[in-house]
Amino acid sequence: MPLSRKTASLFQRRSANGHEKVIWASLLSCALISILTTVGIIVVLLGNAVYSPGKSTAFFEEVSVWEFFTDTHWKPAERHSGTELSDSATGKPAGHFGILPLLSGTMMVALVGSMVGVPIGLGAAIYLSEYASPKERDVLKPVLEILAGIPTVVYGFFGLHFITPWILQPVLKHVFGIEIGVFNVTSAGIVVGIMVTPMIASLSEDVLRSVPRSLREAAYALGSTRFDVSMRVVVPAALSGILAAFLLAFSRAIGETMAVTIAGGHKIMLTANPLAEVQTMTAYMVHQSFGDNSASSIQYKSIYAVGLALFSMTLVINIASQWVLRRFREVYQ
């Protein structure tokens, strides 16, 4: 709780000695590190992807932005020792650098994840806020927190070694007669969905519970059933917070790395088939960093371009989420 201006100024005078100033300055410099981090991220990404001030060239100085957004192939040529990579006639690096295949992979995983996480998360939030007894809530909430605290590599293992072989493959084979590979979008999406469920549930439950009780009582007095109260009164009243939670979860799903790298696979292709193997933007970054490409190679720089795209997407969604929260908030006294 910040002190009132009057009290603060009162003892600003008292503390106007060097010692207190040193402490103030060092605490401020701690706080400035977070600003420095943001600046650092932007400088690093732009400096390697868009414009490089040094003698090395940035990614977009070699690959056109047009190609990046419209080419439907992402094929950074494999580096062979001794062979020249760039096409000598045009000076352009060999290979294709269209982000669409990676983007489609990311989006498909995030969409499958939302299809799993949104209904379960919202259902759990409504149940916890409107139906569960306090005792039940005391048990269920920590369980959801455990789900949120499990590292993402563990979810990757779960997707690759449980969901695909024990659920997806048998079900698809016996019910639909479809064979699928060990890596697929669906298993990656399902684990991402499980991962964002607790986040959606706890953020949504907070806003549902903050809807004043008088609204519920008024609805009951008008003869509403509990469904009417939950879905026609409480959820609409908390809609801005719920939408903000969905957006945050979506941004988290886009940035999710380890689970999709383990369960999603390596194949880079533009597809809308949720049973196919795909590589997401994050998985691409991980795979590239395992390769021993030199820092001046276009493959290495492509990580920064993909990273920049990823950072921009999550930033836009996060800002949108904050905007939704502010813009559509219902204020109750």
Partner: protein
Amino acid sequence: MSTSVSEVLPTNSDEVLSVAASVNFISGSSPAMRRRLLFSRVFAWTCRLATYSALGMLVALLASIFISCAGRLSLDFVRSVNSVDPQEAGILAGLWGTFWLISLTGMMAVPLGVGSAVYLEEYAADSFLNRLIKVNLSNLAGVPSIVYGMLGLTVFVRMFDLFEKPLIISVPGLIRIPLPLGDKVLAGAMTMTLVILPIVIIASQEALRAVPSSIRMASLALGATRWQTIRHQVLPAALPGIVTGVILAISRAIGETAPLIMIGALTVARFCPAGIDSPMKLLTQPHRILQAPLDQFTAMPIEIFHWAKQPGDDFRPVAASGIVVLLMVLLLFNGIAVWIRYRASRGVRW
């Protein structure tokens, strides 16, 4: 009739229930009303199902891991380093790598995070800079961790490629600091510090905000300076909350993998940083402690990732065993947090 009353009204608002029951305004006989009630009950069960399916997933997750690790997890698993033979592979190198990584991360993230929180909660006036810091903080918390990995790779590991050839600052017999840092524990810890800093700051801010301002007023009224008030009154009062937040942030760092892979931490390491492979060596060979932060490393989640990615089923039990060890470490940390919260809730001072 009684079932429809309990369906229409929330069971946990007893006073409403009693009033409604005495009025008895519900006509369960009308078919439209019955349909609405049935629908409402189906909805309630759907929500309950959603909640318990989340619980079911946790059970399935843990069960699949424990079943997979059966027969592989033994004491030898935590005593040996990685190997190409699934029967020989162990997690010792990852355990020590994580130990050094997390110790250093804690040493950097805690002072920086708590310091920032104290500044934001206790000092910051409503100026442009401070508003910028606060807005920036909430955005930083949403940045994917892999992006921090790229920051760490460029700034700490490669140091913007400013050094034409590697430079080594060495104090003979004591320490050798390579510049640029390279894929060393220290670079990993600095990166991880940035990853968890927003979490530490936000948790500490909440803990500081929960301290009643009357405590500050009383201290100031007795003539304490601002820093004396914070140091002797506010921080001790907020400590349980801060510690809980810090432990949760550290648990996040223990499981975080992507930034470490981005900075180039080893995937297959058969040695522990500075060769310290048992707690005894920390005591018997203390001169190695300074060298450990500047050695190459791997970490538990990286090894798990490596094993989980191996084709075929040979390494599945190894990965599962690694996950069990990782979850045990996390359980230990979270147990400490719960215990602190419990202790603090009993010893409330006001």
